[in-house]
């Protein structure tokens, strides 16, 4: 185990070199649906046609995504598109209904219990709401120090270890005896970051980690993420609805719409040559600082209910280019350029 004195990442380690070709995390055909499992009485009632099966919400629908070591993958989508659920699956908090999660090329389900625990520790999550994601009744020192203590990651002095974690997240260790309410929103988010980093993860899932922060604080936290990435050789899945933020820090971007990834490409590519009509609409509506006043032109319609997603391509009711085929057949993610995949029937038509 890594102790307080060896906070250096293991990037130079030989075990990593051999695994370089293998993605750090790979999702294969992940689906997840929410709903209450029916008990025997309910199943009987359904069989006798006395009741309808309880509705199930398909939050993720056959998603495959891989993240290589050292990469920052931005996951973008509007509320209810399943991006947070996918983040939880990656972080190991939520077991998927079907599909497999591969950690360094090995299916999590085939790992021994101790290997699985180790793999879970290597993936940590940072949450959106710095007010709800840390326990208000515990002191900052316990919030940050509890997990490494439980997992016996501290070789030396506990206080020295926690101080180091505080400094790394840009917090003054002198404040560690304080309670969360004595910190500002930005500082609280730093506590969440210190807590996640205290168990020496390699992979951070940031779920809207800067969405609740003011612009100036957001800039400070984004800078911290980028510094940490360099210093600790971290890999990120950066979930956000804010394309400006995602464009800034991601190497690769995946766009989700109603449970499916509709487009995936290197960041520069997607912002320069968005292929999917939904991505194009999203990009057109990103509020940017303009120097001339101009009117807003919005795409029509609202997000459909994920309980009853539209048939075929989920985006077809709002799509300005929808074809008859889009109503009946769901397009598959296909390569449109090097490293660029998009799920749109138009690509087949144009070619």
């Amino acid at each position: 185990m890594i102790g307080a004195t060896s906070l250096v990442p293991t990037a130079e380690g030989s075990s990593v070199d051999s695994a370089e070709a293998v993605p750090l995390i790979e999702l294969k055909h992940i689906s997840h649906s929410f709903g209450t499992p029916s008990d025997i009485a309910a199943r009987l009632a359904i069989a006798l046609r006395l009741a309808k099966p309880a509705p199930r919400l398909r939050a993720i629908d056959d998603v495959s995504l891989s993240v290589r070591k050292g990469e920052v993958v931005g996951l973008v989508g509007e509320s209810g598109c399943g991006k947070s659920t996918l983040g939880r699956v990656v972080a190991g908090i939520l077991p998927p209904t079907s599909g497999s999660v591969l950690w360094r090329g090995r299916d999590i389900k085939t790992l021994s219990p101790s290997e699985r625990r180790e793999a879970k520790l290597r993936v940590q999550m940072i949450f959106q709401n710095p007010y709800a994601s840390i326990n208000p009744r515990r002191r900052a020192v316990d919030i940050v120090g509890e997990a490494p203590r439980v997992h016996r990651l501290i070789n030396g002095d506990f206080d020295a270890f926690v101080d180091e974690q505080f400094r790394r997240a840009g917090l003054d260790p002198a404040l560690k005896r304080r309670f969360p309410h004595q910190f500002s929103g930005g500082q609280r988010q730093r506590i969440g970051i210190a807590r996640a980093l205290a168990v020496q993860p390699e992979f951070l899932v940031c779920d809207e980690a800067v969405a609740a922060l003011d612009v100036s604080v957001q800039a400070q936290i984004l800078n911290l993420f980028m510094d940490l990435r360099e210093r600790l050789n971290l890999t990120y899945l950066f979930i956000s609805h804010d394309l400006g933020v995602v464009e800034h820090i991601s190497d690769r971007v995946a766009i989700m719409y109603l449970g499916r990834i509709v487009e995936e490409a290197p960041a520069e590519e997607i912002f320069a040559r968005a292929n999917h009509p939904y991505t194009q609409a999203l990009l057109a509506e990103v509020p940017r600082i303009e120097t001339t006043k101009r009117s807003f032109a919005a795409i029509k319609g609202e997000l459909p209910s994920p309980l009853a997603p539209p048939s075929g391509c989920h985006f077809h009711p709002r799509c300005p280019h929808a074809l008859p085929r889009c109503r009946t057949e769901a397009p598959r993610l296909e390569v449109v350029a090097a490293g660029h995949r998009s799920a749109c029937h138009l690509n087949g038509v144009c070619r």
Binding site: G244, E247, V286, S295, I299
Partner: protein
């Protein structure tokens, strides 16, 4: 323009005990003008809005200054007087539509009540007005939607209902407090398009309170930037955003990721927002400011040049490197 301004706020001070949430704010809004009031949390932008519409809750009180609406001082207007103005001539839209809507009443009940509060019309007529208002803000099949309860609407649609309610009496003045912050980008764009159309059609004056410079840049005519209870800079939107004079405004603009080169460190403002209960005597931004010197510790006057105003002894040069 001050002579014809619909709303004039002069040296407004709204305090919550020792917390000087609004600490000497002056601005004016002309007829049909859109003012973007920008600031970060705790800067006093919402309290400014609440003060204007007379909805500051105790322990908050307006301890000084004047609010002049359409030539009338409404700073110390009584409850009844404010009630007759609110909803009819001045309306407010909040970030959370459920602050406006009653969750246990149908939309029609609430809209009809709002119509009849100010006008002596029959229920049928009020209902027709409510239906038209829903149609105007782009709610499909307004007749059926009138029968629905707030929870049967999506977040974006609920915000449209609230906007329809605010527009019922075609007010001269609307205060919108971050009404699109909680919405998705595509829905935000729809609401902004709708608002833009409505205020232009009705020649409504609008204060748009937000932390989002990007929204303001497209929507507003003028911008006022607040920091720690004071307006630090005012001016036409494009001027302020392209050539900010106050270092805080410049810092805010520079922190926006799209204003930075991809993947590089963002230009951040050092330090943290000050505690408004213990403000320094001079410029509140001085402890975080690279341009500050000893003079900034004393009260900073307001500098005016044409349409632009700022409170900084060391404003940025007109042309920035």
């Amino acid at each position: 323009m001050n002579a014809t301004a619909l709303l004039q706020v002069r040296d407004l001070q709204t305090h919550f005990g020792p917390v000087k949430a609004v600490n000497g704010v002056s601005f004016s809004v002309g007829r049909g003008e859109v003012l973007g009031l920008v600031g970060e949390s705790g800067s006093g932008k919402s309290v400014t809005g609440f003060s204007v519409i007379g909805l500051v809750d105790p322990p908050g009180t307006i301890v000084g200054g004047k609010i002049i609406f359409d030539g009338r001082d409404i700073t110390r207007s009584g409850r009844e007087e404010m009630r007759s103005l609110r909803g009819r001539r001045i309306a407010m839209i909040f970030q959370d539509p459920m602050m406006t809507l009653n969750p246990v009443l149908r939309i029609d009940t609430q809209l009809i009540e709002a119509v009849q509060a100010h006008e002596d019309v029959s229920r049928a007529e009020a209902r027709a007005r409510a239906r038209d208002a829903l149609g105007m803000v782009g709610i499909p099949s307004p007749d059926e939607r009138l029968q629905a309860y707030p929870h049967q609407f999506s977040g974006g649609m609920r915000q449209r209902v609230v906007i329809a309610m605010a527009m019922l009496h075609r007010p001269d003045f609307i205060i919108a407090d971050e009404p699109t912050t909680a919405l998705d980008v595509t829905i935000q764009a729809q609401i902004l398009a709708e608002m833009q159309k409505l205020v232009a059609q009705n020649h409504t004056s609008l204060i748009w309170i937000t932390h989002d410079l990007a929204v303001v840049s497209r929507l507003a005519d003028r911008i006022a930037v607040m920091y720690a209870g004071r307006i630090v800079e005012t001016g036409p939107v494009s001027d302020v955003l392209t050539r900010p004079l106050h270092p805080y405004t410049a810092g805010l603009i520079d922190s926006v990721p799209s204003r930075n080169r991809r993947g590089e460190r963002l230009r951040q403002i050092p330090g943290m927002a000050p505690n408004v209960a213990r403000l320094p005597a001079g410029c509140a931004f001085a402890p975080r400011c690279a341009r500050a010197d000893a003079r900034c510790g004393e009260a900073v006057p307001l500098f005016t040049a044409g349409m632009r105003e700022h409170r900084c002894l060391h404003p940025l040069p007109e042309v920035r490197a």
